[in-house]
């Protein structure tokens, strides 16, 4: 992804990336419509799954920052906000 494109990303687009990665990792989420208040753990993702989902999104965004900077999100909306903030700094 080009840096210009990255800067233009919206929260909805990042949420979609999170949803796409979550569907790949967690079986049974194919039909799930993601809301900002969704918690990955409540959807059946254990800590390893959550780490993997975060990494997949990070890779799609070509965002090279330490994983630990992406911890602490309470739900997928929070996580999308975190990614947005990191993209702005990148």
């Amino acid at each position: 992804m080009m840096s210009k494109e990255r800067e233009m990303m919206t929260k909805a687009e990042i949420l979609e990336l999170i949803a796409k990665s979550a569907r790949e990792i967690i079986p049974g989420l194919e039909g799930h419509v993601f809301k900002e208040s969704d918690q990955l753990s409540a959807l059946g993702a254990n800590s390893l799954d959550r780490a993997e989902i975060t990494m997949m999104v990070q890779e799609s965004l070509a965002l090279t920052i330490p994983r630990v900077e992406l911890s602490g999100a309470k739900n997928v909306g929070d996580l999308a906000e975190l990614f947005l903030a990191k993209l702005k700094q990148a």
Binding site: N46, S47, L48, R50, A51, E52, T54, M55, P66, R67, V68, L70, S71, G72
Partner: protein, 412 residues
């Protein structure tokens, strides 16, 4: 090197049922048993019980050349006096010996090992040996409450173990020949898991996992940069990981294979079974023994690997807080045969199986030997079967704490 994986153990599937942990999530831990410290066992008894067979295998002239004894632990019993002084006494080592302790969470064993390697390589005392003993126990008093503590912390109980690993480092390495200078280290400040109070642990399991993965990648990249021509899949016949629980290692291996080698799932699975699983066997039976875990995994790799000839083992060590390192060494079939003389697997097989009631009784009694205990005589008849099972093996146990001073005795 030798491992002491406890006198008694608990079947952790039984514990998970008892605690009503989510079964699917428990299965992901890939844990089978955990060693449990009895009231008359402490980090010193674990350390000595691991080191004794190693020292006993030496001639008295060789034993006298142990000039450095480092204990590596996060289960210290005194802020000033180190465990190494007791270990030195119980093993009857030469007094011309440096005695001290190293702390950096689960990285401590590697820190001690690397210090010993550098001491031997420096040749400031040619022919001298160093004895490294990583020893950690968890008596399972978790710090309660606090918003940062995640529910996942309940999964720390089935994986938290007790044990010690002793290594003798010399200029004649038989078992594991260190690749000199092949070290990639990586550390920074992070508050993932810690022991902020004398007998309790606290942590954020998610953050710790992310930090572990960050380190796994960056320590290896630094190793690769320094060594040159290194390939994650082809340069190491086996991989050893710090193993808080098996599932974490599986996840880290998958991430590394995907990132470094662009491997597909089927290849990752095959590689995991061939290169990683031999090192997980002992860890699955002892539990997380913090500073000693990566060395426990290394012992497991050396004992259980199928070796056709000299093979390189890549080791990844991580300690919360944090510091990490990727390093390597070579093992041979001859070294493996030598290592197997310590019969670690049969030691583990011979442990006493605790019932859930006995385990709960041990937890309730943990207070009796907590940090800062001034006077106590632990009851060796507490779980009679457990003491009996170790008695004939000539094990060290804690007889008494008298005005803070610990007195030990060999069982007979």
């Amino acid at each position: 090197m030798n491992v002491f994986g406890g006198t008694a153990y608990l079947d952790v599937a039984e514990l998970a049922r008892h605690r009503k942990l989510d079964n699917a999530r428990f299965e992901n831990l890939l844990m089978k048993q955990k060693a449990v410290a009895l009231p008359y066992e402490d980090p010193v008894t674990f350390a000595v019980n691991a080191a004794k067979p190693v020292v006993d295998a030496l001639s008295s002239a060789e034993k006298d050349r142990i000039e450095m004894l480092i204990t590596c632990t996060e289960s210290g019993i005194d802020f000033g006096k180190s465990l190494s002084t007791y270990v030195h006494h119980c093993l009857g080592l030469n007094r011309n010996c440096r005695l001290f302790e190293i702390k950096q969470a689960c990285y401590s064993g590697t820190a001690g090992f690397q210090m010993a390697v550098n001491f031997v390589l420096s040749r400031v005392s040619p022919g001298a040996k160093a004895l490294i003993v990583a020893t950690d126990i968890s008596r399972f008093m978790v710090a309660e409450g606090g918003s940062a503590l995640t529910e996942d912390w309940s999964f720390a109980e089935p994986s938290g173990g007790a044990g010690a690993v002793a290594l003798l480092v010399s200029n004649r390495p038989h078992v594991f020949q260190v690749d000199v200078g092949a070290n990639g280290y990586y550390g920074y400040e992070v508050m993932d898991t810690c022991r902020p109070m004398p007998d309790a642990e606290a942590g954020d399991a998610d953050l710790s996992l992310l930090s572990y993965l960050d380190c796994c990648e960056n320590a290896f990249l630094e190793y690769r940069k320094r060594v040159g021509g290194v390939h994650y899949r082809d340069s190491f016949q086996h991989l050893t990981f710090h193993t808080p629980f098996g599932g974490m290692v599986k996840g880290a291996h998958r991430t590394m294979m995907r990132k470094m080698v662009q491997a597909k799932p089927a290849e990752i699975e095959e590689d995991f079974h061939r290169r990683v699983v031999p090192g997980m066997s002992y860890c699955q039976r002892v539990g997380n023994i913090m500073g000693a875990t990566v060395l426990l995994s290394l012992a497991s790799t050396i004992d259980n690997a199928q070796l056709a000839g000299p093979s390189r083992v890549g080791c990844f060590s991580y300690g919360s807080g944090c510091c990490s390192e990727f390093y390597s060494g070579v093992v041979t079939p001859e070294g493996q045969a030598r290592q197997r003389r310590f019969a670690i697997k049969s030691q583990l097989d011979g442990r006493y199986a605790l019932s859930m009631e006995e385990y709960e009784a041990i937890l309730r009694g943990s207070d009796g030997v907590k940090f800062g205990t001034r006077n106590v005589q632990p009851d060796i008849g507490f779980i009679a079967g457990a003491y009996e099972s170790g008695r004939r093996k000539g094990r060290l146990y804690l007889r008494e704490i008298k005005e803070f001073h610990r007195e030990y005795e060999w069982s007979s």
